[in-house]
Symmetry: C2
Subunit: 419 residues, 2 copies
């Protein structure tokens, strides 16, 4: 199996992986703990919003019929009955020739059908028994009607949506102290390779510090899952397989970096010949990360990423993040595909689609994608700047500046000024 | 002051606010706790990366001069000296006619100046005393040179950058177990308004549940600050001012919602007449959120947002998030301005620039901005979908579909399929 691997397109590989993953169970959390979680069910408006007719501004609630003749030069004078602040219940009905001084958000008094703003009356700062209106009003003018924003039963957020600050606002409004969310996926993580040193170990000739571990751990948390760290693997495939099975029983998904290539010590690569291992893919038509591997052990999903930091990062965004989304019940799991104009010519030919890390730039309303030129130099150094992957198709002579290319966006574009 | 306020453009108001804010002090955190934090200093490469010449693939390290005549039909045969795995130190020098079996990431043996990949040799899976090369190699081919990615002293990340997963990878590589970051700003928060009920209180006619509190709390945390919750204010301006001063002494920035309008009970609005209060602005040329107010009390910054949820949200993104960035030492604090084509005509005239919440859409490489139509209906319901604010300039007759508009982006575009 080491040198004779079956090629999968990125889409085929992603499809095989996601096909075996189903949404995890739900749990109930307090609203104060719900930020960033994925809703397990649709959530509905529990009452009409607003739940009473109210004034959207500071002014006077009136009968519009009383205001017909009002103008700047000939104001209409009404008798002020009371003042109603937001949160108060109006005591008096507005009858002919009368008005109620009313504050933003306060409940409309019975009898009134319009509100005139302070600034369209004379001496609004003065509390007086009368008010003089400098313009006429139409029925319903400046009144927010009960149910105008949302009727009882309206879906306010859907299952699979990530809860953000705006979601919390609407949940609070409708009195949801608790909310049902999908349990956070537990994602196991280990790095392979006898060349790896820990962050606090001194450098030794020939060895490198493990940078994928902390990177993947942060990416897993960022994706909304719980990273669970495991030690590396022994060299013998049979024992390694047992370890992986052991790890997998503790988590919903297992991820590793390294050991997927054709080298003599690539224990993951050799695993695929073991019984009880169902290979999903171990050759993907992409650069970097071609040997990215995924398999099921006893039906449980394991994704083995390349040890190269750039390939590891790409593999995370293409396979692990979508897998976490799928486990979390996010609809249409997977990176978002868009089109942008390539900002600079990329002419290096490649037998497979090349995924260039890069950034999105806006210029006069057009979207440009600028590669970070990370094929070799700066592989590690530009990881932090990556906002998207620019897909250079296989073969041919690359893409010219200005040509439309496919882009997979995975982070907030900084929309930095060009420099 | 209640009805005679001085108008500020959004840019003027933001400028006045940010002018008084300086970067907070720093603190040292372990790398495992550094995700999302803002670097306090530039960070440098502590050695040449890679720190030894290494092989970027699985193959054989050779002298390129030995391979000159090699071809598919007439392979060159070399004697294999040893196998070097990643992390091992090569024991033998490669001399004429010899090769070292070498794995990805392993150190180059002395004497060798190129690497041929397994697949370009005969029977690579077999461990043998000899290897037959099916092609020639140039000097330096397939060798990653010491320092090729980064030389010692190169800046790997700059002060003011937010630490993401990629930053962690490069910090780990260079052995940074700890890192100096800017202390998280403490942002005090309270809501005003006697109409407000807590989430778990039953609805009462005329009252509404406080949705701004939990929304702002989440937004503050999301912006990288620590929300500190305070109770609301008493009605008397003098006592209210004392409370605000008291709150301000515990935090780096104070934020509230409500009470900024011209209503009789708007205690914040009346504060500006108090001594020891330095008004920054209380009228901003924007809709919604015109009465958004900011002041200094004893030199400490206080931002009072509108109580209307949409205006409160806009005020947070326009003023509070930039203020948190400024306190955190982020360069060029403030929302990112870009241009996009308006997706649908917006013709409602307005004497002030109108900030429409909306989303960014890509179509054939062009960027479109689609308003969520939230002026009245759905004010609360569409908060969660906001990715940007579309600026409709003052006066005139709005903007036609297809016209370029300014857009302030504040969240990751979902790049959803149009629907």
């Amino acid at each position: 199996m080491r040198f004779s691997r079956q090629m999968n397109t990125v889409e085929e590989a992603m499809g095989k992986l996601l096909a075996g993953l189903t949404t995890l169970g739900d749990e109930t959390v307090q609203i104060g703990e719900a930020y960033g979680r994925i809703l397990a069910t649709d959530v509905h408006a529990t009452y009409d919003l607003p739940h009473f007719d109210r004034s959207p501004l500071d002014g006077f609630a009136v009968k519009s019929a009383d205001t017909v003749s009002a103008s700047f030069d000939q104001p209409v004078c009404l008798q002020v009955l009371e003042t109603v602040a937001a949160g108060q219940f109006p005591r008096l009905e507005v009858t002919d020739g009368c008005a109620t001084r009313i504050m933003t958000g306060a409940m409309m008094p019975a009898g009134a059908d319009a509100v005139i703003m302070f600034e369209q009356t004379e001496n609004p700062a003065e509390h007086s028994d009368t008010v003089r209106l400098k313009r006429s009003l139409k029925p319903g003018e400046n009144v927010s009607r009960r149910g105008e924003e949302m009727a009882t039963g309206t879906v306010i957020a859907r299952a699979g949506e990530r809860i953000n600050a705006g979601t919390l606002a609407v949940l609070a409004t409708f009195g949801y102290r608790q909310v049902k969310v999908i349990r956070k996926p537990r994602v196991g993580l280990f790095s392979t390779g006898s060349e790896l040193l820990e962050i606090d170990q001194p450098l030794i000739a020939g060895k490198i510090r493990n940078s994928n571990g902390i990177m993947l751990s942060a990416l897993i948390a960022e994706a909304g899952a719980i990273p669970v760290l495991f030690p590396g693997l022994p060299d013998e495939p049979v024992v390694a397989k047992e370890k992986i099975s052991e790890y997998l029983r503790e988590v919903d998904l297992l991820v590793s970096s390294g050991g997927v290539s054709v080298g003599d010590f690539d224990v993951i690569a050799s695993l695929v010949d073991e019984p009880e291992v169902e290979l999903l893919f171990n050759k993907v038509a992409m650069r970097p990360g071609g040997p990215t591997t995924s398999m099921l052990l006893e039906g449980r999903p394991y994704i083995a990423l390349s040890g190269n930091p750039g390939a590891c990062f790409l593999g995370f965004e293409l396979f692990v993040r979508p897998a976490v989304q799928q486990l979390s019940g996010v609809p249409d799991a997977g990176p978002r595909l868009l089109k942008a104009r390539l900002d600079v010519t990329y002419s290096k030919p490649c037998p497979y689609p090349r995924y260039l890390r890069g950034r999105l730039i806006e210029r006069d309303g057009a979207l440009y994608a600028r590669p970070d030129f990370n094929e070799k130099a700066g592989n590690l150094g530009t990881l932090k700047d990556s906002e998207c992957f620019i897909v250079i198709p296989a073969g041919g002579s690359g893409k010219q500046a200005g040509e439309l290319v496919s882009v997979l966006s995975h982070a907030t574009p900084s929309w930095r000024k060009e420099g």
